[in-house]
């Protein structure tokens, strides 16, 4: 399959902020290829370079070394800037700081307005986007009166209205309560399934990675692990040494393994894990 986003020896250095003149190297040579239509979860402890990586995906940050290609378009090419940003939408952590307007429909219309989409077409896109995130009845509401999960779904609708090929969510669930998180997750999963939108989900919550096609673990500006969730999470010690936890199910299987009960580490779901433990016990 074609690559939605491809990075080649991607490096990124933040210029020094303080007097001492020491620049922060956030990415040190990342090679990735994200397939169109896939659901990718990116994990990594604070400061491992996840947000920086995300920002290079839609030319908000330009590589200091190497390159990033979005559907084959080089992000360094200024003439392609809008085409790239229209293809790769971005949702951030704090919903309050990415909502532009004080009426829901006006906010969702912001991106198509910027792209110069004709008025009737904007109307259609706004209604479709709001329906796609299940917020159709809130067209004329004031965003600041909505719950966190609802605000974040509005932010997602604002991105979908660009009709992007890919959505990057940078810890978009971090500030939400469990209900809001579930709303956002089921929304992006549905978009991925039904509209074939590529999803890159950056998160701290390990259990959000269970249903992913692929998990990428970042550490110190490099890709430390990359593979199917089962494969990545079975490296319990390695993950813990990078300051990450593993899903509770894997942790349980791992602890049981240390005590001599052989449960496979690949059972991620709760049901699956329960079955695996039962099977191991009845042996």
């Amino acid at each position: 399959m074609a690559a939605m986003i491809e990075t080649k020896k991607l490096e990124y250095t933040y210029p020094s902020v303080e007097e001492d003149g020491k620049a922060t190297v956030a990415l040190r040579g990342v090679n990735l290829s994200i397939e169109a239509g896939s659901f990718v979860v990116v994990l990594g402890h604070n400061g491992s370079g996840k947000s920086t990586l995300a920002k290079t995906f839609n030319a908000v940050a330009l590589p200091s070394g190497g390159s990033v290609y979005v559907e084959g378009m080089d992000t360094k090419d200024e003439t392609l800037l809008l085409a790239i940003r229209q293809r790769v939408g971005m949702v951030f952590q704090n919903p309050d700081n990415q909502i532009v307007a004080n009426v829901v429909e006006e906010d969702v219309a912001f991106a198509p307005e910027n792209l110069g989409v004709p008025t009737e077409e904007i109307r259609r896109r706004v209604d479709e986007a709001l329906d796609a995130v299940g917020m159709g009845e809130f067209v004329r509401h004031a965003p600041h009166l909505l719950s966190g999960g609802q605000k974040q779904r509005i932010a997602i609708a604002g991105v979908i209205a660009m009709e992007p090929k890919c959505i990057v969510l940078d810890e978009a669930t971090a500030m939400l309560d469990p209900i809001g998180r579930e709303e956002v997750l089921s929304t992006v999963h549905r978009l991925n399934r039904e509209k074939g939108i590529t999803v890159v989900l950056i998160t701290h919550h390990m259990n959000e990675a269970e249903d992913a096609d692929r998990v990428i673990v970042m550490d110190d500006g490099l890709v430390a692990m990359d593979g199917a969730p089962q494969a990545v999470f079975s490296h319990v010690e390695e993950l813990r040494s990078m300051g990450l936890t593993v899903p509770d199910t894997v942790a349980l299987a791992y602890e049981l393994g240390l005590d001599g009960l052989n449960v496979p580490l690949t059972a991620l779901g709760v049901e699956e894990c329960a079955d695996a433990v039962a099977a191991a016990l009845s042996k």
Binding site: V60, N94, I99, N102
Partner: protein
Amino acid sequence: MLKDITLGQYFPGDTPAHRLDPRTKILLVIFYIVALFCAKSVVTYGIMILTLLVCVQISKVKAGALFRGLKPVVFIIIFTAVLNLFFTPGNYLFQWGPLHISDAGVRMAVSMVLRIMLLITGTFLMTYTTSPIRLTDGLESLLNPLKRLHVPVHELAMMMSIALRFIPTLIEETDKIMSAQKARGADFESGNLFRKAKALIPILVPLFISAFRRADELAVAMECRCYHGGEGRTKLHVLKFATRDWVALVCGTAIMVGVIVLRQFGM
């Protein structure tokens, strides 16, 4: 307490006043203010009050909401009234030591108070019936000719609408910071004015820091949504003059001209 601020508040509705083009409403408010400052007799003030009452009736805004809008300026109104009442020379109606009330003073006080109240309720009536986005759209469109003089009209309108968008967010945040500081024993109520002002510093500093962070994040989020200035932008809601706008403008102009003419005749 901060929730009482009604500045720029909008009450959604579907009355003819809500449906008017924002440009019409801005122009009407300008006409209204001009007329108000020309009014100086019982007749002309009567016309202004009547105009406002009719507009209130059409917009179906609750009287309570209008009076709440006056609350922040009650002090100014009382101050103006007292000042005019006691310090205007004329035929004394009443004298008590150095204090005196003249007939001209009473007239001045009443007309000043009326003028301030009419001015504020009239302008608020516009913000109550127009969503901030439409208001800034209207301003942008009215000021569009200034673009030729290199006035950054789009940028100013965008700044204004974002400022309006963040008012509730920042008010909420101020409330939170105040509660947090109170929980740490901060005291905002007692002491003289100077001490009270000093007590605000622990609120303003975190508020400013967070506002800058928000601005930074918002700028990135806007760029991610392909914002690149006003060039080539289209609109979800295109402003269109309808028949009712022409009718409203004709009525507004008639009232303004009427008041000015009456003034020329000394009324």
